[in-house]
């Protein structure tokens, strides 16, 4: 079991007011943590700290107790705009992290084909990136992130650019990826429903400065993994009740305190 920890982390972008303040958070690699909060509350900043794209002004970010100083293969990032490489076909995009680590071509293609199967795109290996739909691209992006066998998958609005229908299908897909990959997930999303459906734990960030105002365990996604339909889960009164509570929390974060 691995862990990703924020210990008293503060961040400012050089301006006087900090963007994140005194963040304490531990994420285990069997967790699916969803981060929600108003626009500008610092969700992306938090994720970028975890990825190592940013370094904290105060405190530290660590994986298994070792401080994070730069991005590395144990924390793979999935972006909203897939960030795939159009000069590579789907297979070589997925094999890209392996190529960086000197894995021979036959071996990395084998891994890529296995991952393509895993993300539901068997036979799409030779496709050019621009021949894929948005949903397919995001699947390739996730397969690519899985290729380096990360301890944590960091995702910033990975489904944000998809239409509603594709998005729902991709939510179930993400659940499957998380359950099978053994990687911990940190997911930033604007959708409370998505957070409730996917996460084992929801973190609410409040803005100015960004602080964690709620940390709520949830378990609706487990039910989906046990073959309950997404629709019946989302209609569940308990689901609705939490949805309302989180909505209130986000819109009135100044008065509420950590749950």
């Amino acid at each position: 079991m691995s862990s990703l920890t924020f210990e008293g982390v503060s961040l400012d972008y050089g301006a006087s007011a900090p963007v994140l303040d005194a963040i304490n958070l531990g994420v285990r690699s069997d967790e699916f943590v969803a981060v929600i909060g108003r626009s500008g509350s610092g969700k992306t900043s938090l994720l970028n700290l975890a990825a190592g794209f940013l370094t904290p002004g105060k405190g530290r970010v660590a994986v298994d107790g070792k401080p994070v100083t730069k991005p590395d293969a144990d924390r793979a990032v999935v972006f909203q705009d897939d960030a795939l490489y159009p000069w590579l076909d789907a297979r070589d995009n997925i094999a890209f992290p392996l190529r960086l680590h000197g894995v021979p071509v036959a071996e990395r293609h084998q891994t890529a084909d296995r991952l393509l199967l895993h993300v539901g795109l068997p036979g799409a290996g030779d496709k050019k990136i621009w021949e894929l739909s948005g949903g397919m691209r995001q699947r390739v992006g996730i397969a690519r992130a899985l290729a380096s066998e990360p301890k944590f998958l960091l995702m910033d609005e990975p489904l944000g650019a998809l239409d509603a229908l594709t998005r729902e299908r991709m939510q179930s897909f993400l659940l499957g990826v998380w359950a099978e990959s053994g990687a911990g997930v940190m997911l930033v999303t604007h959708s409370i429903e998505e957070a409730l459906f996917l996460a084992t734990r929801i973190i609410v960030l409040s803005p100015n400065p960004g602080r964690i105002t709620a940390d709520i365990p949830v378990s609706f996604g487990r039910a989906a993994l046990d073959d309950r339909s997404a629709h019946s889960i989302k209609k569940d009164p308990a689901f609705q009740a939490l949805h309302d509570r989180l909505t209130d929390l986000i819109h009135d974060t100044r008065t509420e305190h950590a749950a």
Binding site: A51, G52, V77, Y85, L100, A124, W130, E131, A147, S148
Partner: protein
């Protein structure tokens, strides 16, 4: 496959977007009109010479020019055939292209990725860019002599700004996410440069090379007018001195055709190596 596919943009739409409807080779209305224009121009030219409106010394008929092009190809003019003149010119162009790519891309990378690089090279580029190459040709001849080197140097200098600036633009427009993705898979800075930055900048660099070829070609011809013993520019200059107007016009046509072919080849290379172009 159950997920809906995104249909690729039709080739026509892309061609129109970058203003080159003719490159698809289809008989679009624009191409037809262009063919008509050329036909009218040649007919007009032919009538001017046929009715002796202009003396043949100044304007030989299209047929005379065609015949002289045939002559140029077989027996040649001023000691070399048309092919030899053309080859001499092309060799200079490609030597210069090689040199300016070898210098321009690293310099562009340096400008785009470091303040020091920008500080060093920016003034040089800004100094060079607005200068007409023929203005510094005499200086180059004083420095390196009148041989091949001076011409290749001048053409390289004429090509450099386009290649440097397009490299800078290409590198600056690389998406942060693409770079960060590679870093999060453990890429070293060198790997990011090699596997992400350069391929991302390639479309822009190739456009720069195409522009550079254009600039280089016109500089080349002009440079050969001044100082050469072989080459299309030299051939025209020599012919003009003897008032062999048909060879002058034939040479001009040859220059135009080669410029057009260079452009076409450059476009083919672009489509072959960056088929995603502006799509992603």
């Amino acid at each position: 496959m159950t997920l809906p596919m995104e249909t690729p943009a039709p080739a026509g739409a892309i061609a129109k977007a970058d203003n080159s409807g003719a490159k698809t080779g289809l008989a679009t209305p624009t191409t037809l009109i262009s063919v008509g224009t050329v036909a009218v121009l040649i007919t007009g030219w032919w009538m001017l010479s046929f009715y002796q409106v202009v003396s043949p010394v100044f304007l030989p008929s299209p047929l005379t020019v065609a015949a002289s092009l045939g002559n140029l190809a077989t027996t040649g003019f001023v000691d070399s055939t048309l092919a030899q003149h053309t080859l001499a010119s092309l060799l200079r162009i490609f030597a210069a292209l090689l040199a300016s790519v070898a210098i321009g891309i690293p310099v562009g990378l340096a400008i785009a990725s470091s303040h020091v690089g920008k500080g060093i090279f920016d003034p040089v580029v800004e100094f060079l860019r607005p200068l007409p190459p023929l203005a510094y040709l005499p200086l180059i001849i004083i420095w390196v002599g009148i041989g091949e080197t001076s011409k290749v140097v001048v053409i390289s200098l004429a090509m450099l700004p386009a290649i440097i600036l397009s490299t800078v633009a290409g590198v600056k427009s690389v998406s942060r996410d693409r770079i960060n993705a590679a870093r999060s898979f453990g890429a070293t800075p060198i790997q990011v440069l090699r596997h992400v930055t350069l391929p991302s900048a390639l479309p822009s660099i190739l456009t720069g090379i195409r522009i550079a070829l254009g600039a280089g070609w016109s500089t080349l011809v002009a440079a050969e007018l001044v100082a050469a013993t072989r080459g299309l520019g030299f051939m025209i200059q020599a012919a003009a001195q003897f008032l062999v107007t048909d060879v002058v016009i034939g040479g001009i046509l040859a220059i135009a055709v080669i410029a057009f072919l260079l452009e076409t080849v450059a476009r083919l290379i672009e489509r072959r190596f960056v088929p995603w172009g502006s799509r992603l």
